[in-house]
């Protein structure tokens, strides 16, 4: 589903990724771990299409199509989803309105009929029930006044509503206490499916106790240094990233 080949990328002229290779198939959950500044977030932005992140070499193929020149909204419509490390607050825009605009924009992209208010609310209610999210969170403005945990749950709700084929979770565990972590992880696990690929980006192993990956990769200074099964995460937890530091290279 996702094929990253020899990806080099820079931000503001500074080279961040130096030849990343990664293949993720439908139904798999991959975790990318790495020290701060290793390029983890850059990789997630490149997949989602954030402006200012430039691919200098290599490519990202999604369902065999090159994503490079595709606008972020088109990637989303094609089924790519990024759960943000720091979800953005949008005052004055009710969460429900935002979700409905997103769902209908994607439906328009696929030449499908838009959902009317009633159909949308029905669909939304089903998702919130599944994920145990209160209606109160839907009425409030997008992420405004949300706790850290609520913001992350809202990301998971968006993911459930938009129903992506490829979901990238960028540091979803940051800022969460253990209870919130469990709720968010349950949400993600709920969305695991044979048709969907999930890429979890994290600094710490603890998230992977809850979202158990099929594969773990270590990203350090711009390259995948090692890949393995879920036991690799435990090893990293024990030994840290010292052996992947620049000095150790």
């Amino acid at each position: 589903m996702l094929e990253i080949k020899n990806l080099h990328a820079s931000v503001e002229g500074k080279e961040i990724l130096r030849g990343v290779d990664l293949t993720i198939n439908a139904g798999e959950v991959h975790a990318i771990m790495g020290p701060n500044g290793s390029g983890k977030s850059t990789l997630s932005y490149l997949i989602a299409g954030r402006e200012g992140y430039e691919i200098t070499e290599g490519q990202i193929l999604y369902d065999g199509k090159d994503l490079t020149d595709m606008a972020p909204e088109d990637r989303a419509a094609e089924g790519v989803f990024l759960a943000f490390q720091y979800p953005v607050e949008i005052p004055g825009v009710p969460n429900t309105t935002f979700l409905k605009e997103a769902v209908n924009a994607i439906r328009r992209y696929h030449n499908e009929e838009e959902l009317d208010a009633l159909q949308f609310v029905k669909m939304l209610r089903a998702k919130t029930k599944e994920l145990g999210i209160s209606d109160d969170m839907l009425k409030r403005a997008v992420n405004v006044g949300f706790s850290g945990g609520e913001k992350k749950r809202n990301e998971i709700l968006q993911m459930a509503v938009l129903n992506p084929k490829l979901a990238v979770l960028d540091e979803t565990d940051s800022g969460l206490d253990i209870d919130a972590l469990k709720v968010v992880s349950d949400g993600v696990n709920h969305l695991r499916s044979p048709d969907r690929a999930i890429l979890v980006i994290t600094h710490y192993q603890r998230l992977l106790d809850h979202i158990v990956p099929d594969f773990v990769h270590v990203l350090a200074h711009g390259k995948i240094r090692r890949s393995g099964g879920k036991e690799l995460a435990l090893e990293l937890e024990e030994k840290g990233y010292a052996e992947y530091s620049v000095a150790a290279e």
């Binding site: 989602a48 299409g49 954030r50 402006e51 200012g52 606008a71 972020p72 909204e73 990637r75 989303a76 419509a77 989803f81 990024l82 943000f84 979800p87 953005v88 949008i90 005052p91 004055g92 825009v93 009710p94 429900t96 309105t97 935002f98 409905k100 605009e101 997103a102 769902v103 924009a105 994607i106 992209y109 208010a117 403005a141 968006q158 938009l162």
Partner: protein, 445 residues
């Protein structure tokens, strides 16, 4: 004689101006035209006009309004309200009162709403007693010019302790007069002690074409009275809209004003507010959305003259293309005005590289126990927010609209009347580039 425009026009027009023959009024007009002639139209050399340059204005390019300029057929009066709110409605076309389009017949006792001309015929003493008489200070040429002409306008009187539940709506439709006209409306709004009213005024351009409006509104808010005063300026893209407000707020009275500007080649609103009584409060706020080469100037002076007075100002705007916004806000805390609480904020969103904003906040404080703050920011749409919305599948143009709407929504918090707030958000949404279906969706929820 001075070369200031319109002085000759005055000589021709004065015999037919409203209230002609009333000695005090004739004298007022004569002294005002002299004051104006000595000053001439304001130029950028005046400190308060530093950022706003008027184009060349002469009596040759703006003729006086004639009755027939307001008598053409109008099939649809653009009320700000969608549903029938039971609003008392007065409609003017090019300054000419249109009784046939108005509905001011169901007013509570103690309320009078009538065109200036009618008020001068019925109760000239009332008008004389309440019309402001500032004398022309430096830079108040427009005030003097208006005081000379006063060719139309509305007089509103809300009697002691009368609460008017339904909004009073004044609709002004301008343009389509064949050639550009000039009007000098003079409005008088008097709320006696304990009265309450909501006034909604709109200015709408009928198609393209220029015209000049030089309006003055005198407002008196009596002791304990509450006036909510909302204005929507949607003049044609060639129009010049100049408005001066002189507001006097009594003890424990509240004046809440909000203006939305979405049209006009050049629009300038100058508000002079005096908090004359202990415990008086004013909220003077507004939004502006400009595009093309439109220019919008909000200049305010709030005088805290008595103790325990509070004021709040929030002006927020969006500037596209080569448009320009100006905010000049001065808060003066006079020496007796202890425990004044004054808060002022100007925020502008530039959505084009060529748009420009000039903000000049000023505080002058002569009392020692006061709480005052001011702030001014000018910024662009937040890139991270834009990416966030787009990453959810929302196309860029729509995402930008949502963020503009979000920004404007903050400023509309200043409006306490829900119906008016919704109506103004509706105008804003219609201003947004393309993707208006968003507005439709928004409304249904």
């Amino acid at each position: 004689m001075s070369t200031a425009p319109f002085t000759e026009q005055f000589e021709t027009a004065k015999g037919s101006l409203p209230g002609n023959g009333l000695a005090w009024l004739d004298a007022r007009r004569e002294s005002s035209i002299k004051e104006y002639a000595g000053l001439g139209l304001p130029t950028t050399k005046l400190e308060s006009w530093k950022y706003t340059r008027l184009p060349t204005i002469s009596a040759d390019n703006f003729r006086s309004v004639k009755n027939r300029d307001g008598e053409f057929y109008i099939d649809d009066v653009p009320s700000l309200f969608k549903a029938d709110t039971g609003a008392h409605r007065l409609v003017f076309v090019n300054g000419i009162y249109r009784e046939d389009l108005s509905s001011a017949d169901t007013l509570p006792t103690g309320v009078r709403i009538e065109p200036l001309q009618a008020a001068l015929e019925r109760d000239p003493d009332f008008v004389e007693n309440h019309l402001s008489n500032n004398g022309a200070k430096d830079g108040e040429a427009l005030y003097a010019l208006n005081s000379a002409f006063m060719d139309s306008g509305v007089v509103i009187q809300i009697g002691r302790s009368v609460v008017v539940e339904n909004p009073i709506e004044i609709i002004r439709l301008n343009g389509r007069a064949g050639s550009p006209v000039v009007r000098h409306p003079r409005n008088l709004i008097v709320l006696e002690d304990g009265a309450q009213a909501t006034l909604v005024k709109s200015h709408t351009g009928l198609g393209a074409g220029g015209y000049l409006t030089n309006a003055v509104t005198d407002v008196h808010v009596g002791e304990g009275a509450i006036l909510r005063h909302y204005t929507v300026q949607n003049e044609s893209m060639d129009a010049i809209h100049l408005a001066t407000f002189n507001v006097n707020i009594g003890q424990d009275a509240t004046y809440e004003a909000f203006s939305l500007a979405i049209g006009g080649r050049i629009s300038r609103t100058e508000a002079n507010v005096n908090l004359n009584g202990r415990g008086g409060h004013c909220n003077l706020s507004g939004s502006y959305l400009m595009r093309g080469r439109e220019h919008c100037d909000n200049t305010t002076v709030i005088n805290h003259l008595m103790p325990d007075t509070t004021s709040r100002e929030v002006f927020m705007g969006v500037l596209d293309d080569e448009s320009r916004g100006v905010f000049q806000g001065r808060i003066v805390v006079h020496k007796d005005a202890q425990r004044t609480d004054g808060h002022q904020l100007s925020k502008a969103l530039l959505i084009s590289d060529k748009a420009e904003m000039d903000a000049k906040p000023e505080l002058e404080i002569y009392a020692d126990d006061v709480k005052c703050s001011h702030g001014a920011t000018t910024g662009q749409l937040d890139e991270t927010s834009l990416f966030y919305l787009r990453s959810r599948g929302i196309p860029e143009a729509l995402a930008r609209n949502l963020l503009i709407q979000s920004f404007m929504g903050e400023s509309l918090q200043e409006i306490s009347n829900d119906t008016v707030r919704d109506a103004i958000m509706d105008r804003i949404v219609h201003w947004l580039p393309a993707h208006c279906y968003l507005a439709e969706e928004w409304r249904q929820e």
